[in-house]
């Protein structure tokens, strides 16, 4: 029991949850709205490092630092979105990817601020409950992750979600109905990216020391592979995908089943090799993902159920 509470296990579960939250946000950006952003790791890294730096350099309490980091991330995302979102999909992909790479590069090179590869920190948890501290923080992360998934679920059942879906399906048609699609894409992108920054910020005490390797394009690809594997158009797609990738490899294989260290390199390479293979197979043979597509049409016999729920 002690092992579970204080050790590596809770740490990995916390990271897993954060990734689930990120993958769910990616679902909202890509699976609902159709924005192909490969910058999610850069934005998460920006939130992470801003929070850590604000806490340490400006001696700010945790909650305030999180808020500031979230707002800053929102502002940066607004800028990126403003520039990129009215370009075609390929340009958005490349542009956001480039941004992500640049963020990582700058964090490494501006080591006077970020301490580069030496890692920045330490940042402790904002409260102290003894051996229950990590668990308590884990529960907080769980709360926020569930909140994000709940929001995503509500989106599917709200006018705003319908608008986003219409933008994804046929943006010119949505515009011909008077919908200000660029503005809406920008607002949603900014909002969801700010959320990404938020999760980056609250990840800081979990990591204790933040390193550039936590925020590289690798993370972006892992999230994308997970979402595509799980189901890009489903709220739980991120959850399923992350459990099947990060959960499988980083938790079960590395924590519960100990792998002798000489195989560590091979495990790393095999992991990404398999990720690539899975990605190719999913896109070729099951593009909707494990959970499949979302079907919005309702059978006649379900209508009364629907009316009872809403009425």
């Amino acid at each position: 029991m002690e092992q579970l509470l204080s050790g590596y296990f809770i740490y990995m579960l916390s990271i897993l949850l954060l990734f689930v939250a990120l993958a769910t946000i990616l679902h909202m950006q890509f699976g609902i709205t159709g924005i192909v952003s490969f910058g999610i790791a850069g934005i998460w890294g920006f939130g992470m490092y801003s929070c850590a730096i604000i806490m340490i350099k400006l001696n700010t309490p945790f909650v305030l630092a999180v808020i500031m980091a979230t707002v800053l991330t929102g502002i940066i995302s607004l800028g990126i979105g403003r520039i990129l979102l009215n370009l075609d999909d390929q340009s958005v992909l490349v542009g956001t990817l480039a941004f992500s790479v640049i963020i990582e590069d700058m964090i490494v090179s501006e080591s006077w601020l970020t301490k580069g590869v030496m890692g920045y920190g330490p940042v402790k948890f904002p409260f102290d409950f003894g051996i229950y501290t990590k668990l308590a923080y884990f529960l907080i992360i769980l709360l926020f992750t569930i909140a994000v998934m709940y929001y995503a679920g509500r989106l599917h059942r709200s006018p705003y979600g319908r608008l986003l879906l219409s933008i994804q399906d046929n943006e010119p048609l949505a515009r011909s109905l008077g919908k200000p699609t660029f503005r809406q894409k920008l607002i949603f992108f900014t909002f969801t990216s700010a959320l990404v920054g938020f999760f980056g910020a609250i990840s800081v005490p979990v990591y204790n020391f933040v390193f550039p390797k936590y925020i590289g394009p690798d993370i972006t690809f892992t999230l994308w592979i997970a979402l595509l594997l799980g189901a890009r158009k489903r709220v739980f797609g991120g959850l399923v995908g992350i459990v099947a990738t990060v959960g499988l490899f980083d938790i079960i294989l590395e924590t519960v089943v100990p792998i002798p260290s000489q195989y560590a390199g091979m495990l790393y390479n095999s992991k990404y090799f398999l990720y690539g293979l899975v990605l190719v197979l999913v896109l070729m043979f099951r593009p909707s993902g494990i959970l499949g597509d979302k079907n919005r049409s309702i059978n006649i016999k379900n209508i009364s159920k629907f009316e009872k729920k809403e009425g």
Partner: protein, 254 residues
Amino acid sequence: MQDKKLHLKNIIKRFGGRKVVDIKDLTLGTHGIEGLIGPNGAGKTTLINLISHKLKMDTGQILYYAKGNEIDISKKSFDQIARLGMVRTNQIIQDFQSLTIRDSLLLSLATAKYERFYAIFSEKRLRKSAEEEIQKYLDYFHFENPDGHALSAGEKKLLDIIRCLMLKPKFLLMDEPTSGLPQDQTDMVIALMRRKTVEEGMSILIVEHNLDLIWGACENVYFMAEGEILIQGPPDEVRKNKTVVKKYMGEGDA
């Protein structure tokens, strides 16, 4: 008679050096339903695209009249124009593949206040306020499964038209709206159009090759050829006009 809706001045559009549209001075929307006819290649669809800003004109100015204001829409974006009350249906069938029929209608009716990223509990309210109107359309056109997707081309065409009507436009452009629809549905669409022009003061411009429809439904007809509006007037006059007969009636579905 209605208040004029659009004033086109000196609209020129060239494709590779050739003038496809050349309109010196044209006022649209003074009648309830107006028709635009002409042989293939006359520039009808191009003109519609220029008006709704799907295409940029080389020179010219389009003035739009709403609520007593004169607005230059040459610089306005595609979606802004729709919000100002000028809407168009599509010649090539367009739809939202993941939305059901009811979804489409709710999308049309949803105003800005429902479409905010934090308004995630407003679905019930929207459905309630939209219920009556949506049901009227569903009943009128006999949609079998409104909570399913629009499957046939005819259903999608109808849906396109209804989406536009739900926006309560002041000026509606329809590019071959009834092609592909069975006759009874065509009649229903036209009857609905007539009612709307009377009830809501809407003006409609229909581009069509089906001349029976034009003569039957329109109060005013424009004849376009080689990029210019050559003749305009009530259907009876236009249909007897020598130029129209020569250039077009041989080809059309008269």
